[in-house]
């Protein structure tokens, strides 16, 4: 067992699961989507991104790209949230919630691609 592989897999899977956890629920119902879960998803996604740094293979490059996409989407979701609540003062209205959750949904897709690559890579190795 390779400890580095465990840590790598752990963070990628955790990033995807947290993202999924935030995403599930009615898209425009605020209390279906917990702000702590979004925060955790962002933090874990950032760590997963950093773990993917420095791999010069083709697969490594795609891995990093998917993570960067997920980061971008999640950070955009967080900014939408903060702007709605603190800047505009609109609060978590159904429109804002839908916007935030759909952005997180995009991030989830990127995380799923990342998972698929991880699985494909593992299967290819067959060791």
């Amino acid at each position: 067992m390779n400890r580095e592989k465990v840590v790598f897999g752990f963070f990628i899977v955790l990033a995807a699961t947290l993202n999924f956890g935030f995403f599930v629920g009615e898209i425009d119902v605020p209390y279906h989507h917990d702000v702590f879960e979004l925060f955790a998803a962002i933090a874990v996604n950032l760590v997963a991104t950093v773990l993917k740094f420095g791999d010069r293979t083709q697969i490594g490059a795609i891995h990093l790209a998917t993570s960067l996409v997920a980061d971008l989407q999640l950070v955009a979701a967080a900014i939408c949230w903060a702007a709605a609540v603190h800047v505009v003062g609109e609060g978590m209205s159904p429109e804002v919630t839908a916007r935030v959750v759909s952005l997180a949904g995009g991030a989830l897709l990127a995380n799923i691609v990342s998972l698929v690559i991880l699985i494909a890579e593992t299967v290819m190795l067959r060791r």
Binding site: V35, F39, F53, G54, D55, W81, A82, V85
Partner: protein, 560 residues
């Protein structure tokens, strides 16, 4: 050699994860701990937005204070922990970054990347200069003065750093690398479409040989000039047709022999291959008779061979006599008066101080002059740094190997026709050379002339071609700003087909395809280029009539 960026990122993984973790922990704490409102009543914790804002300015030690409202004691306790965490996190990250920048292999990778980009961006013809020692420096300075681009490769980091300090007119990309590796030359642009030559001047024959082979194999269209000091290397390079092999010792022996026989030719040769900005040196006439040669290394051997060929007698002074050598021997260094007297310095006409140690050479020359004040002294100067001493001593001939190589390279690189003319000079009589020197001095002055080539065809001289009139050489010698004046230049050689015509007459009719070698001032070259390229200027120089150039005026002219 690979790009430095992925390596750097990989090395920064741990510190970046620490930073993300520290921020996450700090924010999480702040959104959980209850706050306090302005009246001192318990209030809900901070929102994520405010927590992130607070951590952002606190972690970077900017510290705006307790925002947006004063904290509860619980929050203060947590913030205290956060501050230490953040300071630790950032310190770790910055130290890692600094360590990364100090990393030698990474620095090399960054330097290679920068060099590769700089070479790729060169849009003009350029040369690759391998070896930036004494000779390389001299050549680089001359190329810079002539506004010729070049890139530099050297194995020693001190020398490439020196290049940055020296300050050239143009940007000179330089890399610390070993030219023995083929990849080095490829990075330096061996296959770049604008690469027009490789000059290998390192002090290591093996490296020069390797560079020459690399060029011949990887890009045979590019000419290569290589320095070679041992005869084995010369033969080796010649075997795979290196375009130009320069052996400084052999060259000097040849020049010394020429100076003995035909001092005028030697003077002309030296002048035409001089470094731009220097002036004509007075003619030196080495005496004929008995010579003493101190130091029988590669230099001494070449000198003795050429002196012997010109019918002089020679005594050799060297600490390690060669039993097979032909001339008489005296064992010793030559720095002592006794040894020199043994070598019959009394009846000698000249002495060559040619060891590879500058101090010994000076000692030999000074002792010899003491014993025999009218002696003709030829001295070898190994290091450019010792120039002051040699200038003070004022030998009759000071031989600096690095200068000889630089002159030769410059002549071959800038004008290939010049090499042909120099061969003619070597073969001609002394009186002929004196005449050439006199007329050059009269027309151009004492400065080392600029040498250029004119190729009479539609691409290089459109002005003459559009006129469609037989061109007389004289027209190229008149000034394009006022035709009564002659330019400060002189034609040295006309090449028509395979035939060479040295010193063509002004009245000569030129034919398309002719190549002419000119020597003159920089200004003359510019004015002549105008005549060659612009048909109206050409007509003016030819007839003395100012013709307006535009299409409208040309259309109107017949009717007016």
């Amino acid at each position: 050699m690979h790009s430095a960026f992925p390596v750097a990122l990989r090395r920064m993984r741990a510190p970046l994860i620490v930073i993300v973790a520290v921020y996450a922990i700090a924010v999480l704490g702040l959104v959980l701990i209850p706050g306090i409102d302005t009246d001192g009543n318990p209030a809900p914790p901070m929102s994520f937005f405010h927590a992130f804002y607070f951590v952002s300015f606190t972690a970077t030690t900017i510290g705006f204070g307790e925002l947006p409202v004063p904290f509860s004691n619980g929050q203060r306790l947590w913030v205290t922990v956060c501050i230490y965490l953040a300071v630790f996190g950032w310190t770790y990250t910055i130290l890692s970054l600094l360590a990364l920048m100090q990393d030698k292999p990474l620095q090399q990778a960054v330097a290679v990347g920068r060099f590769r980009r700089a070479v790729r961006r060169i849009g003009e013809p350029f040369y690759i200069l391998c070896g930036y020692g004494e000779t390389g420096t001299l050549l680089a300075r001359s190329l810079d003065q002539l506004h010729i681009r070049f890139v530099v490769l050297d194995i020693s980091p001190e020398r490439t750093e020196d290049l940055v300090v020296r300050g050239f007119d143009v940007d000179v990309p330089a890399l610390t690398a070993d030219v023995r590796k083929p990849e080095t030359l490829l990075i330096a642009g061996l296959r770049h479409p604008r690469c027009c030559g490789v000059v290998s001047l390192t002090n290591d024959d093996g490296a020069n040989l390797a560079a020459a082979i690399t060029v011949r194999l990887l890009n045979p269209t590019v000419p290569v000039l290589a320095r070679a000091e041992s005869e084995a290397t010369v033969a080796n390079m010649a075997s795979f047709r290196t375009h130009h092999i320069i052996n400084p010792f052999e060259k000097f022996g040849e020049y010394l022999a020429l100076a003995l026989d035909e001092p005028g030719n030697y003077q002309l040769l030296e002048w035409l291959t001089g470094i731009p900005g220097t002036t004509l040196r007075a003619e030196t006439r080495p005496p004929r008779g008995h010579w003493v040669v101190c130091g029988y290394g590669r230099f001494g051997r070449a000198v003795v061979r050429h002196l012997g060929r010109k019918g002089q007698t020679v005594t050799i002074v060297d600490p390690q006599p060669d039993p097979l050598a032909h001339p008489p021997w005296v064992a010793g260094r030559g720095t002592e008066a006794g040894i020199l007297q043994q070598a019959e310095i009394g009846r000698a006409v000249g002495i060559v101080a040619g060891t590879d140690d500058d101090v010994s050479n000076l000692a030999i020359a000074m002792t010899a002059r003491e014993l025999h004040p009218r002696l003709f002294v030829v001295i070898r100067q190994n290091l450019v740094a010792n120039k002051v001493l040699f200038d003070e001593f004022k030998a009759d001939v000071t031989m600096v190997p690095s200068e000889i190589i630089a002159h030769e390279c410059l002549a071959v690189l800038t004008t290939p026709l010049l090499a042909r003319f120099l061969d003619i000079v070597k073969a001609e009589k002394d009186e002929w050379a004196d005449r050439v020197v006199a007329s050059l001095r009269e027309r151009v002055g004492e400065e080392v002339p600029v040498i250029w080539r004119v190729h009479l065809d539609a691409a290089h001289a459109p002005g003459c071609f559009e006129a469609q009139i037989p061109v007389t050489l004289e027209w190229l010698l008149r000034s394009s700003s006022s035709r009564e004046e002659y330019l400060h230049c002189m034609p040295l050689l006309l090449v028509r087909g395979d035939k060479e015509h040295p010193l063509p007459e002004a009245a000569l009719q030129l034919l398309p395809g002719d190549q002419i070698l000119f020597a003159g001032t920089r200004e003359a070259r510019t004015l002549q280029a105008l005549t060659l390229s612009n048909v109206n200027v050409f007509d003016y120089v030819r007839t003395g009539e100012q013709i307006a150039g535009g299409w409208l005026w040309n259309a109107l002219r017949p009717r007016v």
